[in-house]
């Protein structure tokens, strides 16, 4: 059998491609290297019952994979660190049917108009390779709308003054505000910030046959036990219902097979869960393993522009501002984050002054998420043992009394930040593991240093008695203890195979086809030319809809800007 498309990876990027292509009548085989805990692969594709609200399983036992001993990654900051500093979890996203969407808390903001043309809007920065995207916001708007309908996004229009235009309202109204975000959002507004209810891929009402969220609180880093999170169960279920889609889990793709011309792919080779090799034929190969694994697969196969594959790896540079309150905030109820604010993305006078002082043309931070803290095992492990332990656990300073701002700082693309193949370390499949070489640009550090004290002031105005800040990766801050360690923990990974029109300056073209091998398409965030200061998922999904519709010969989506 020759499949119309074989898709490598079942996260938001692969699931979206499968939804569009099966809807167009294509036969699609999805290969997922992790296990399936998401949904039955037989009609009616119901939940499997594997998801429970269990901190141990999800947070401490690699339930969603990858197990860092079976599939390690390696990390170093620069070549000066030698071959590697760390071996194990390097900003891992889940390796499971559903991928990163499985554990995400599903904040799904759109990028802004300027985010697609950062070079023309803001100009270059020394030491970074800032480029415009080969697509603009006006073209993307209907794909964003389609992505919001597909996943089911709850949000409100008109409260974020920095947002670009949209043709339609969100498919659902927002869910309830978390108590601590009400406190911090009110304080932020008083101080001139512009908080708004986060667009969230969690049902506030019944949607697409899935129930409304019942606020159980196990959202970020967990799976949804009742299917109220739409990503990625909605696109996968749609694809399976067409009868045109097959998902094979525990199948790790090792090779993209080219024909004799070297200009067309004819299928892939993979190893199953017993390490037995298989080969499948397909008219198209869609890479959707994420911005770490896709560049790694290209490098293993020596595919794509060898000067560029793996380069311009971007993580968001996260700044965490922690506020300890005298009262209990019950952040364990409801969604993990309910408010965002974009102010640090659009530099004000003070930010421009700080940029000038740092010798930079601008400072572009990222969205600030208003959220709360963690779970009891995490709290317990960071508290001292002995007689004080029980008392501190009852007071729960770092769980029930802590509010957290997370700024997803824009991470400028640098050629030296890259994925390559580790020269020595192999995974359980016998393949060289991916190695990240990553150090932030001084722009990211200046941004954190500028915004963190301002966000601490908001925390204090909201009622926090003590505030601290730190970053991932660490640069200091007011927190002596740096729980993030040396490897970034943003779980947002972008770049590594940027897209563009010029084959000498990009790996994929504007339709996300590999320059030189056009039936290899990448629908994940590897293609992002820049990182912006927004979570990547909605843009991954919108781009995947656009690329997949073009691939299947469907008409482009269009929308009209309201006057």
């Amino acid at each position: 059998m020759i499949w119309d498309a074989v898709i490598v990876g079942t996260g938001p990027a692969g699931a979206t491609a499968a939804e569009v292509l099966t809807g167009a009548g294509w036969s699609v085989l999805m290969l997922e290297k992790g296990r399936n805990h998401l949904l039955s692969l037989e009609p009616p594709f119901a939940p499997l019952g594997h998801i429970s609200n269990d901190e141990l399983k999800f947070m401490r036992r690699h339930f969603l994979g990858p197990d860092p001993w079976l599939e390690p990654r390696t990390f170093r900051r620069t070549e000066v660190d030698g071959d590697r500093l760390e071996t194990g979890d390097v900003n891992n996203l889940p390796s499971t049917v559903g991928g990163g969407g499985f554990h995400a808390d599903a904040k799904l903001p759109r990028f802004r108009d300027a985010d697609f043309k950062p070079l023309s809007t803001h100009g270059p920065v020394a030491g970074a390779s800032i480029v415009d995207w080969p697509v603009d916001y006006d073209e993307m708007e209907p794909y964003y709308a389609a992505a919001e309908r597909l996943i089911g996004v709850a949000g409100e229009v008109g409260t974020n003054p920095f947002a670009s235009w949209r043709a339609d309202p969100y498919p659902m109204p927002p869910g309830p505000d978390m108590y601590c975000a009400r406190l911090t959002a009110a304080a932020a507004e008083d101080m001139g910030f512009h908080p708004y209810r986060a667009p969230t891929g969690v049902n506030s009402v019944e949607y697409d046959g899935r129930p409304a969220c019942n606020n159980c609180g196990f959202c970020g880093y967990f799976g949804c036990p009742i299917d109220a999170k739409g990503d990625p169960v909605a696109p996968l279920r749609h694809a399976l219902r067409t009868g045109n889609c097959e998902i094979r889990d525990e199948c790790v793709v090792t090779d993209v097979i080219l024909d004799r011309t070297g200009r067309r792919a004819r299928g892939v080779r993979y190893l199953d869960g017993t390490l037995a090799p298989h080969e499948v034929s397909a008219h198209h190969v869609i890479l959707a393993g994420g911005a770490f694994e896709t560049p790694r697969l290209l490098l293993q196969n020596e595919l794509g522009n060898p000067d560029l594959v793996g380069r311009f790896l971007q993580f968001h540079f996260q700044t965490y501002v922690l506020g300890m309150f005298a009262e209990r905030l019950h952040g364990h109820r409801g969604r993990s984050v309910t408010h965002l604010m974009d102010d640090p993305i659009v530099p004000d006078g003070a930010a421009m002054d700080a940029a000038r002082d740092a010798g930079l043309p601008f400072l572009r931070g990222g969205i600030v998420e208003h959220g709360a803290a963690g779970h009891p095992i995490l709290e317990g492990i960071h508290l001292p043992h002995g007689a004080l332990h029980s008392q501190l656990m009852m007071q729960s300073m770092t769980r029930d009394c802590m509010a957290v701002f997370t700024m997803q700082g824009e991470d400028l693309p640098q050629a030296t930040n890259r994925i390559d193949l580790d020269p020595h370390v192999r995974d359980v499949y016998g393949l060289p593991v991916g190695r990240a070489t990553y150090a932030p640009h001084r722009h990211e550090i200046a941004c954190a240093q500028h915004w963190a004290p301002r966000l601490e002031a908001v925390m204090r105005a909201a009622g926090a008695q003590n505030t601290f800040w730190t970053t991932s990766p660490p640069i200091g801050g007011s927190m002596a203890d740096r729980p993030g360690g040396r490897t970034p923990i943003s779980r947002h990974i972008m770049g590594g195979a940027r897209m563009g029109d010029d084959p000498s300056a990009s790996v994929f073209d504007r339709w996300q086809r590999l320059h030189g091998v056009e039936n290899v398409i990448c629908t994940d965030s590897s293609v992002f030319p820049t990182s912006t200061g927004y979570g990547p998922t909605l843009t991954i999904v919108a781009l995947a809809i656009r690329a997949s519709r073009a691939l299947a010969g469907l008409d482009p989506l269009r929308s009209t800007r309201p006057r």
Partner: protein
Amino acid sequence: MTLSPLEELAWRTRIEGSRGVPERERLGPIPGRQSEYRTGIAALGADFSTVDPAEQDARLDANPEFRDLLYEHVVEGAYAAPEYGGNRDLRGWYAIGFPGDVQPRGYTDAEVEGKSEAESENEAEPTADEIPADQRSVARAARPAGPRAEET
């Protein structure tokens, strides 16, 4: 739910140690939790449970690696879901006012948005044991064997 063959390889290696088996030594030799516990417990002395608390602390502090491993597992036992064998009768969660898994009841919108009604959290929160065990979550009984194995 059972472990996949590869997951079983990983957990057996962590628990039993690599023991010179080539497929377990891909990233270098691993002593294994069982061996760490045997050595660590032996070093505490056979009379550990009968000596006074200050002496117990001193002996634990003399072996910080084992102390930290033990502490991590004690915290996991105390505050993880009771199905793993610790947190019996939800006492770990009661003690700290943590409600645990509240499916399928969840929280009302008012409970999410509002200030905690009572500072006595044990009364303010719906607790997991007010919900019949078989309804708390469809999956509470279906957990991977690996974590359990590591705790034993």
